[in-house]
Symmetry: C4
Subunit: 275 residues, 4 copies
């Protein structure tokens, strides 16, 4: 029993270090983790530059293995120290953490797959929690709420945009044709998207007078309808600006949910006591 207690307290300490940022040790761990993530992303980037890779290949390879093994240990500790491990494994961060470690192991069998390690960038989303910037957490929450509220309207809008691009792309394909770079309907639809969103690479551009006339209409259209998503989000944002709740960065020890209300005694998700 005593052994069990000791075991539990050992797990408890690790939980506090890894999952929370209230103690000194927890804060230190989080800062080191953040630096390790940044370093690993930098490594993957440098490795992709050929002139760099040919010179420092061995060093880059070893450094990546070291970081990958450290991340693997961290991942295992996260599973061990939590009460309901499956909740963590299938949570957003749980999946990200797994995806951040496997590419390097995978690269033993699949050449090139280790570039996927750049997915570690998603781990950087933890930074708000790590730095304990409640202000930022609140701001990002309010952003997410406004986006969720306008989700349906924005998807309806984007659906219209895609249909519009399919039709405009087809018409441009018939006007300009393969001899002017509009080699197929999918390519023309791609061009229509490039134009309507005002990106405008210029790798494909209309050459016939009528094609340029239609392109002008598409551009003015795109210029006009960019107002729609903006209008949607702004209307939602002005509404949500008024009713927001302050939350903190404490994580529940049993289900690891965050964003508890300030002063909350119990987890809003699983009901266990917060400490």
């Amino acid at each position: 029993m005593k052994n069990n207690d000791k075991n539990t307290s050992w797990k408890y300490r690790i939980h506090e270090i890894i999952y929370e940022a209230d103690t000194k040790a927890g804060k230190l761990f989080d800062v080191i983790l953040l630096i390790a993530i940044l370093a690993s992303i930098l490594l993957v980037m440098l490795e992709s530059i050929e002139s760099f890779d040919t010179r420092y290949h061995t060093f880059l390879n070893i450094a990546e293995w070291v970081i990958t093994i450290l991340f693997s240990i961290e991942y295992i500790l996260r599973i061990i120290s939590i009460k309901k491990p499956f909740k963590y494994i299938f949570s957003f961060y749980g999946i990200i953490d797994l995806l951040s470690t496997i590419p390097k192991y995978l690269s033993l069998f699949l050449v090139g797959s280790h570039h996927l390690a750049a997915l570690r960038a998603l781990r950087l989303l933890r930074v708000f929690r790590i730095l304990k910037l409640a202000r930022y957490v609140g701001a990002s929450n309010r952003l997410l709420v406004a986006l969720k509220m306008s989700r349906t309207k924005i998807s309806v809008f984007l659906y219209f945009v895609v249909i519009l691009c399919v039709i405009l792309g087809t018409i441009m394909y018939m006007i300009e044709g393969p001899e002017n770079g509009f080699t197929s309907i999918p390519t023309s639809v791609y061009w229509a998207i490039v134009t309507l969103t005002t990106v405008g690479y210029g790798d494909i551009a209309p050459h016939t007078p009528f094609g340029q006339f239609l392109a002008s209409i598409i551009m003015i259209l795109g210029y006009g309808i960019i107002a729609i998503p903006t209008g949607i989000v702004t209307a939602e944002m002005t509404k949500s600006a008024n009713n927001s709740v302050d939350t903190n960065t404490q994580a529940c020890p049993s289900c690891s949910k965050e964003n508890h209300k300030d002063g909350a005694q119990f987890c809003y998700n699983c009901g266990s006591k917060l400490n």
Copy 2:
């Protein structure tokens, strides 16, 4: 008389399957229709890719004919099963449905016209009704209302933009001239539109110092006035956010109008009983 009744009930059943999505059969029909539309668009796209077309030409041709004939049958059934067929034929969806079938028949006489079959993409607008996503229908309605309300202001704005582009294009034509790619006034106006809408292909770009100076002013202008349509739509959207009514996806059996108020007993358009 009995025959007449039977005839009516036969038509009535087809109406329910084709026009509505409340019964199981109606839902199934709509899902199959949606898949058929997507498949047919994919076919037209694949056919336009030369390497694909040369290899699978016969297969693609047959598949398109099958889908076109199916769509034709559906179109005829739609006309037969409705009480006031002309209302359907000249409605938005009626015209789209017709335009979706004729290009393939037309291609027998006019080479290349079958690409117009991509207009079927417009049929995809039915998806909201098909999936019975009242939430989405509501969202798209509110979008349309906000757009309708700001229609006059946006057309005034676009009219100003076009006049501005004509004048700026002419001035740039006089500054840069044909030797720098501004071959004629229409081309220069096209360039002005490309620049003002911040698309910026780069196929035509100013080379003289004074041309670059004027182009800079046009860009900053375009950067500033993109705010106007946004402001218009946003102001309208914040207003319309408050007063919206919930509607459902039921279609009137006699005039096929949709978007009846929840719980409505009679069609708001022709006054016939809804079932």
Copy 3:
């Protein structure tokens, strides 16, 4: 005295035809004027296309002279028929009308100056008055009010943008240098404006890693600060949406000011009686 009366009534009739759109003759005049303006712009555009000009040079030249002389007659009639001719001559439309006629006369001495005839496009702004679309006039007035209100804020914003572009352009010139297309500081400032406004021609683009890094920051900056003019105009527009007054298209016979309040008896500008 009788002669004087007759003279006045003759002028009065012309004033009614040219300046107003309430009588049948006045409406007809305005529609013909609009068509003539559109035709003349088309002529100037076609003339600038070399292949067109070489073939139809004589026809285009004669047609332009006919329209120019008609516009000159109209301009003189406008001056004669109004009570205070100088008010018209130095008004916005008076200057536009003059600028629309002189380029062709100027082309007798200055080769190429007749292209300036495209400035006639500005005369198209009369369309709202011509079509008597009070709704559109109201919409455009409300737009102008919102723009006037946000004028100071937008000029402050654009001033900041220009200063920012000067500094960013200089830094990029020092990083990339003439060997990467950044041939001088003015060119680099031009590039910075092209980038910050998200136009992005691609005629000049950074090649060094550090240059691309800085360019990325400029783009994200530009992406972020485009929100500012939008925010300004939107805030102004939501305010002005509430307090707008309905005006009509009647022109004052003595000072030719428009936009009188519905039911106004006297000109708000010069106090003379409206009829």
Copy 4:
């Protein structure tokens, strides 16, 4: 003591001329300063144009030295005439003023560093104070307040955008590869930023069908999420439009802070008497 008084009054007069714009001499000084700044920026720009520099090198060099020495004298006078010189030295304008003078001196040791003199553009921010346009100062203050209020939200948003670009860039690098211009992950991330912000240079563009498909999604995404910063700033701006205070351009003689409330008797920053 008398000497001391005289000394003080001498300093006092200089303070009034240099720091304030209420007296005639102060106004004149400010206008001359503004012209000198503009001239010096023009000089640096012209010098960077090779064809200009080779012809007028000696003249440009001398002119720059003259302006640099004048700016140095002005900087020293500013330090002498103020009561708390360190407050000025480490203030925003103090640092700008210093940075505006040293590049030319630096160019004696470091070739090319004199281009940094373009940083003088920042001095142009004084224009609002110089022209005594309280209206503009108020407008720019309100802009800054709205930006400060939305600072956290916008930084959270930009942080998300950067993470998104890292991930999208990596995926595009794996799809397109070095043979299509995506030479390394950093380059691909640069491309993702160019695309997401709708700049779209076109120096790098996807060539594989799948790459173009993913690029289309990125563009539509960028088109959609540009609404977010706009929504944030607009919401903040509509709020701040109501509660703004009128300030004037008087500068405190002891700490040189500006933007005192109209009618204020004492400096809000250091408490000394305003005159």
